[in-house]
Amino acid sequence: MEDEQSFSDICGGRLALQRRFYSPSCLEFCLSCPRITLRSLTAVTCTVWLAAYGLFTLCENTMILSAAIFITLLGLLGYLHFVKIDHETLLIIDSLGIQMTSSYASGKESTTFIEMGQVNDVVINEAIYMQKVIYYLCILLKDPVEPHGISQVVPLFQSAKPRLDCLIEVYRSCQDILAHQKATSTSP
């Protein structure tokens, strides 16, 4: 079972939330970030090449132009591979754990898996980000020493940065599964 909704992120860009319901104990959320636009790409390339051309008129060395082309290409490849995140996925499996995957524009994926035994709760927090106050969803991890303490906060959807309405959707589904998991695990 799959459905898709569109939301917006904190800067106003368009996000798409895809929810896949595999079973009552397994749920997947996929948040797609806004793509790289032709306008920004053209703007950056033109800036770099105009600067290179300006240097060329000063120095009369053609190596500057070739260097500018290489820099643009390598910069674009590096940006796509290391910086630009295409979509972020959250997979919750009851009694196994929570997995976050970030897929970059070049296809690289980086995954983090947190076992259910380490998860204390999933909450929505507020944070001060530059000049804004934003909401973000995070996982609270249990402290091994103190049973009710919190050792770490793991924020989710850090590149997509959705707004509160999207976060509430994800939060409700996570809480359903976590409540079910707590109910079944505390019984002997």
Binding site: L96, K108, T112, E115
Partner: protein, 598 residues
Amino acid sequence: MGLVSRGAAEAGRGAASAVDRPGPPDAVPNPTPTPPAEGADPGSSRSPGMVLKAFFPTCCASADSGLLVGRWVPEQSSAVVLAVVHFPFIPIQVKELLAQVQQASQVGVTVLGTWCHRRQEPEESLGHFLEGLGAIFSHRPWFQLCRERGSKSWSCKATHWQGPASPAASGEDQVMLIFYDQRKVLLSQLHPPTALPDRQAGDTTASAGGLAAVFDTVARSEALFQSDRFDEGPVRLSHWQSEGMEASILVELAKWAAGPVCLFLACLLSLISAASACRVFKLWPLSFIWSKLSTCEQLRHRLEQLTLIFSTRKAESPAQLMRKANMLVSVLLDVALGLMLLSWLHRKDLIGQLADALIPVADRVAEELQHLLQWLMGAPAGLKMNRALDQVLGRFFLYHIHLWISYIHLMSPFIERILWHVGLSACLGLTVALSILSDIIALLTFHIYCFYVYGARLYCLKIHGLSSLWRLFRGKKWNVLRQRVDSCSYDLDQLFIGTLLFTILVFLLPTTALYYLVFTLLRLLVVAVQGLIHLLVDLINSLPLYSLGLRLCRPYRLAAGVKFRVLEHETGRPLRLLMQVSIACILPCSSKGLREPG
């Protein structure tokens, strides 16, 4: 019981001779979920309503029908399947084998259920036979995994029987299938380190929670993987070794030879360290020289590393093993680079050329220094120096340089022999050769060091004097007892002389400061060159080449965790996940995955 088992064995052999592998007649595309049985028998302590997880090895996904053998972890309601026992088998022998494995590996291996890999058309007889097996091997919950040959539709049922007397009380639970690669999980060493011998064997796995229990189970069941389905034994198993035992002749030979070699080398190294630790070397002049030379430092470091590598104690954890392997690889690389350097030096006869060029270079450096001092004694950069002090300092340093040149010329006949012996030390490693080079540079520029020390001392004295007289000028004093500045009333003649001295020192300050500045910069230059050489030595010492090599060739050995992927899902079928070992992402490449089973 005996009648039933013989009957089952006959039926099993009969089924084995048949070409088809029919499945249970109650083929379950839509298992009707019955409510979980109240008061489940105390044998299986599982949480009601919790989803059951079955960890299934991907290598068994194409195996023929048989029994599932593995371990049931009640705390997580998960069953870890380790192998599949094929038809025909005799239940008594299966139980004997499992008891043997349990004793050898301390893992509670039991028969978990049945596995059925069938063609399209089901048959009635095998269904009853499989149900009969559930009565022979009492394990609750009893799993019935079933797969159609050539398609991706799996079905899984877990039943809790109360026995044939009360079939109405049987319950079924939802099952989640998780596929895992046995070979990768075994070799990635994600399991917790082996238990200490003084702990009870029973409760070691109780403390391992979550997925660590799964890894621990697989890692400790080596005894189960000894025999496979091609062996002539009574029981035929299918697991990751069933395509042939994985082993390497070189690794086995190395393991066999490692014992005596390590012992011999450890004795040799202990002799060397005992010799170097004797009292003669601890006397004051020698110990001071040893501490200053970086060659001795490097040799001592290498000796420590070699002692650690060839110690006869086995490494306790994978991290320690990795450290030892890294050290060994760096030592080997070092020696290889050193031998390359040695062969290059001897081929081009560079040592002779170097020895011939050394004296003119030293002369040239001394000449440049003399020019520098002449420049300082004049009007350097347009500044006006105090002529008397200038001349005194300049002549002092010039005489020093003259002494140095005489010593160098005295040593010149022996230079080539010394350099030849130094070049021979490169077979101990490139790092040793580089350390010797750094020491030679330090020795050759010793006069610059001396100048720096003289200039620094003079400047330091002057600054102290100036600060103290400045305090006097303002009518204050440094209180040593209270470590602070206090006011003090001086006599008139004290004030007078103090102010005079202060003035003299202030006017002599530019000269001393300039000498100090120039010689500090020269010293910094030498220190920078030595620092670069030391950086190179540290790089060769500490680069983890073995780990880098593992990352390129066998990435699963550097596993940092696991990740899950949901496989194709149809409604009514159990949920299937693929568990993959994920690698610590040092290099930017997409993590390698497995081919989905079936």
